[in-house]
């Protein structure tokens, strides 16, 4: 087998050194049980594995081949070739959690840069070195808010991605939390008034339906009642032209960094972003990288504040998380460094301008209403027919034209989410407009 270096002669020699005659003697503690033998396909060489998996990949319609206006929490962005190349370097790809800092300064320094970029983007003091994805980060934020406030009630806005809301509710259901998920807020009419028993209120910015709301007043209302405000950002690029959650008074901001770190990969791996105020840092989940000095006085970086974590605190830890999304964080950081302030802002402006142009064009189509007065790069369209049926039809015309809201809320049959990024040129936008007219 090509991945196994030992030869039979070496195996024999090693068995002799160990003082046994068969390797199976080392497995003698495993109880013998009657069982149906395991059946797997026969081993395959590289050619055969490639043939099999290329055939499976070929059954999918890749967004690299046809126009895609799909968003709903996962936004397709162009990833610079350098990022793709760099994260395949073995030094980043095949190392692990930097437990031994002297030989892990590459990963540690980038994670320190990542934490700084995320904190600045969210307008908060500190960020961790990543969680699994935006949804699990929102759950961790809610759990953290419970620790900070000592309260057990969570309000989730109807503008939060339904799969994020489900994650928060599902993962808190067994610890006595009263998790109230408000009805879907496609029209952006929701008003939340904390009453004083909430650990936190969770909102999404821009919302699942694309609306951009200023949550400054809500932050004040939360704080007046002793609750935290958690802001979920499923499209962090929006923060290139939108004021940050921190500027609005958010206590915790979480996000999904996948779209800026890598290709969408059917939705995973994700990249959970997590930032908060410095007073709350000891309640934070996840790994943290900190700056320090080595024995010669040179600057270096280490994993730090481990007394919050499971390997030290066990059941009293702030979270059970161990392996996180390290390489995704590295890719995210690289992309942001390549964009810089100028590029990030420009990319955000470009997404918004393209979407704004699309909004004014589709608004002219009979039977199509744009529900958004505000948006970043995604719109909710109200149609005079079934959005799901239209999307199926468009797929037949080589167009991934949007995400029907009925996929999440079955009774919202006439709503279609349409996102436009820098990857969609004018020709693609015209194609979409034609499809919406049919």
């Amino acid at each position: 087998m090509r991945y196994l270096p030992l030869t039979d002669a070496e195996r024999e020699e090693m068995l002799k050194d160990i003082g046994i005659s068969s390797v199976l003697e080392l497995f003698s503690d495993i109880p013998q049980v009657d069982s149906k033998p395991i059946e797997l396909p026969v081993p395959k060489n590289e050619v055969e594995v490639e043939r099999k998996l290329t055939a499976l990949a070929g059954k999918n319609i890749s967004a690299a081949k046809i126009p895609s206006f799909l968003g709903a929490g996962a936004y397709r962005h162009h990833i610079p070739a350098l990022v793709d190349y760099m994260i395949e370097r073995g030094e980043f790809l095949t190392s692990y959690t930097p437990y031994q800092p002297e030989v892990s300064q590459g990963t540690l320094q980038i994670l320190f840069e990542f934490q700084t970029q995320v904190a600045r983007l969210f307008g908060l003091d500190v960020a961790n070195a990543s969680l699994y994805d935006g949804a699990s980060a929102a759950f961790e934020a809610a759990a953290m808010a419970e620790r900070v406030t000592g309260r057990k009630k969570i309000i989730v806005s109807g503008g939060v991605h339904p799969q994020v809301a489900d994650t928060v509710k599902s993962c808190l259901q067994f610890n006595g939390t009263d998790c109230v998920v408000l009805p879907p807020d496609a029209e952006n009419t929701e008003a939340i008034e904390p009453v004083g028993d909430e650990a936190c209120v969770i909102v999404q910015y821009p919302s699942f339906f694309g609306h951009v709301n200023d949550y400054s007043a809500l932050a004040e209302a939360c704080h007046a009642k002793g609750a935290l405000l958690v802001v979920v950002v499923m499209e962090p690029l929006a923060l290139g032209i939108l004021k940050s959650p921190g500027d609005m008074g958010a206590d915790i901001a979480v996000g999904e960094g996948m779209g800026l770190a890598s290709h969408l990969n059917f939705g995973g791996p994700g990249l959970g972003l997590f930032a908060t105020r410095k007073e709350l840092v000891r309640n934070m989940p996840g790994r943290l990288v900190g700056e320090t000095k080595d024995a010669d006085g040179k600057r270096g970086f280490v994993l730090t504040m481990a007394t919050r974590e499971q390997h030290i605190r066990r059941e009293k830890a702030t979270s059970n998380i161990c392996t996180n999304a390290g390489l995704m964080a590295v890719a995210f950081s690289m992309h942001l460094a390549m964009l810089g302030e100028k590029g990030f802002t420009k990319l955000a402006e470009s997404n918004h301008a393209r979407t704004s142009r699309l909004a004014s064009e589709v608004a002219k189509i009979p039977g199509v209403t744009v529900l958004n007065k505000t948006f970043f790069n995604e719109l909710t369209l109200k149609l005079d027919r079934s959005a799901a049926a239209l999307v199926e039809k468009m797929a037949g015309h080589k167009m991934l034209g949007g995400v029907p809201v009925s996929r999440f809320y079955p009774d919202k049959e006439d709503l279609l989410l349409v996102a436009r990024t820098e990857t969609n040129n004018t020709e693609e936008a015209l194609h979409l407009q034609e499809e919406l007219k049919k």
């Binding site: 395959k44 073995g90 030989v103 994700g270």
Partner: protein, 488 residues
């Protein structure tokens, strides 16, 4: 020679970018009152500068590609590049989680095939494929168990965890609202079965589950596992196995045959997907028929020739809900699928055998100079303590740092906590005998120096790494977690 590399914030600037944009259309701005007015503070690099910055940083890392990395309990095996190539296929990498299902049939089929293979290898009924890592898989397993117990109206509140367990086990159970009780480990490094029996048979009938890592964190197979399973089931509890160490036994035994009700699989350990400097991994969970109806969304069903992604609970099942958005760590799962297809059963069995052989080879080559707290054969990893270093002034930490100077990544140190000065060595099956011999020689040389009274030299290590020992105490006491520009 590795060059020093400043922080991005010291070399980048606001007006530099490595990305060119086409002109953008004129359009009305629709941002309400939320237009950003402050700068973000994101320095940029040109493309050549970015290449230099990250290439230099990469050179400061040791990785499996560049060095032996026997980090116990982490299974740092070789990561085949075929897996990377397969995951990068446009038909996998460029698909969106919410495309119409008829446009992603190949992706759903791939998940379905992998699930079938995992079910076959473990003897289990169903697979929850969405968990993002081992600890996330544990949470999936424990919430599923809690949902099943809740469904039968059984409000049990305790989870039993051996004292040798990974910290993730008690942390996970606590997140599900359980109280944790610790079961001691006996002089052989195995679960004290008398203590377990006493708790389950004579204690309060409120145990929801027993969580066991097997092979355990001492590198030993819990040989009384069938008895434990019987006791756990007799007490009306579920038996959760932490599959972190499945690499040692894959293809040799099906966990279902050992009485296990649920188990997660760390595909970044067992099935060769890269560890990425700390993730992303994946932690799919296999369940028996009793627990399967309660597992989280989403999952994939086969209906004739069509594969269906089940994303929402239509009420026909008791799924506890969802633990993340979208469709699991798809790109990681594709790599695991490529690996299992490459290996087949003979390859997986051989991998387990070679992993166990390599660990035992290291054991016999070092047991005369390092103390084995639990003598006898081990599985895929061998555990030493620091008692043979007593009086030398040299600690486990010093051994680790000297291994860095010898060109190796150190073993796991100070874990498991039940052993003083633990050194947990997991060579994996992808290391050659030559590498093991070199490693053994390096450890022997370090220990010999310790016994010759050269503590001063050894405690100075590493001297050949990019950095000398780092001051972790100050880092934790006065945390500096983001860059602050001192000049402003």
């Amino acid at each position: 020679m590795i060059a020093e590399e400043p922080l991005l914030f010291e070399i980048g600037s606001d007006d530099k970018t490595a990305v060119d944009f086409p002109p953008q259309p004129d359009a009305e701005e629709c941002l309400g009152s939320c237009r950003r007015t402050k700068k973000i503070g994101l320095p940029g690099l040109s493309e050549p500068e970015a290449m230099r910055h990250y290439t230099r940083l990469s050179q400061m890392n040791i990785s499996v590609d560049s060095a032996f990395y026997p980090l116990g309990s982490c299974t740092m095996k070789y990561n085949p590049r075929l897996n990377e190539k397969m995951a990068a296929l446009s038909g996998f990498s460029e698909i969106h989680p919410f495309q119409p299902q008829n446009t992603v049939q190949g992706a759903l089929e791939a998940i379905y095939i992998l699930n079938e293979l995992l079910a076959e290898l473990t003897g289990m009924k169903a697979v929850a494929f969405s968990p993002a890592a081992g600890a996330h898989g544990e949470l999936c397993g424990m919430m599923t168990i809690r949902a099943a117990l809740t469904h039968r109206g059984d409000a049990r509140e305790v989870v039993l965890v051996p004292e040798s367990a990974h910290g993730t086990n008690p942390a996970t159970a606590a997140m599900c609202g359980y109280r944790i009780e610790t079961i001691p480990v006996n002089a052989e490094g195995l679960v004290d079965i008398a203590a377990l029996q006493k708790r389950l048979v004579h204690g309060e009938k409120n145990v929801a589950a027993f969580m066991l890592t097997n092979p355990n964190t001492c590198g030993l197979f819990e040989r009384d596992i069938l008895k434990m399973a019987d006791m756990v089931h007799e007490a009306g509890a579920f038996f959760y196995m932490d599959g972190a160490n499945f690499n040692a036994i894959m293809g040799h035994v099906k966990p279902a045959d050992l009485g296990v009700d649920a188990m997660h699989i760390n595909v970044h350990k067992t099935f060769s997907t890269p560890h990425g400097g700390g993730g992303p991994g994946a932690g799919p969970v296999v369940f028996n028929a009793e627990l399967a109806p309660f597992m989280p969304l989403p999952w994939v069903e086969k209906d004739g020739d069509t594969y269906r992604l089940i994303e929402a609970n239509d009420g026909s099942v008791h799924s506890f809900g969802r633990m993340r958005a979208f469709n699991g760590q798809f790109a990681v799962l594709i790599r695991a699928l490529a690996y299992i297809l490459a290996m087949g059963l003979p390859g997986l069995r051989q991998a387990a055998e070679d992993a166990v052989l390599n660990a035992n080879y290291v054991r016999v080559k070092l047991q005369d100079i390092l103390h084995l707290p639990y003598p006898g054969t081990c599985m895929h990893e061998v555990l030493f303590d620091d008692s043979s270093l007593e009086g030398t002034g040299v600690t486990t930490l010093d051994i680790a740092k000297n291994l860095i100077d010898a060109g190796f990544h150190p073993m796991t140190i100070y874990f498991p906590l039940i052993v003083h000065g633990a050194m947990l060595i997991e060579p994996t099956e992808t290391e050659s005998k030559r590498t093991l011999d070199e490693f053994v020689a390096a450890v022997r040389s370090i220990v010999a120096k310790a016994k010759e009274g050269k503590a001063e030299e050894l405690t100075a290590a590493p001297v050949n790494a990019f950095r000398r020992r780092l001051d972790e105490t100050t880092a934790a006491r006065n945390p500096v977690l983001v860059y602050k520009d001192e000049t402003q």
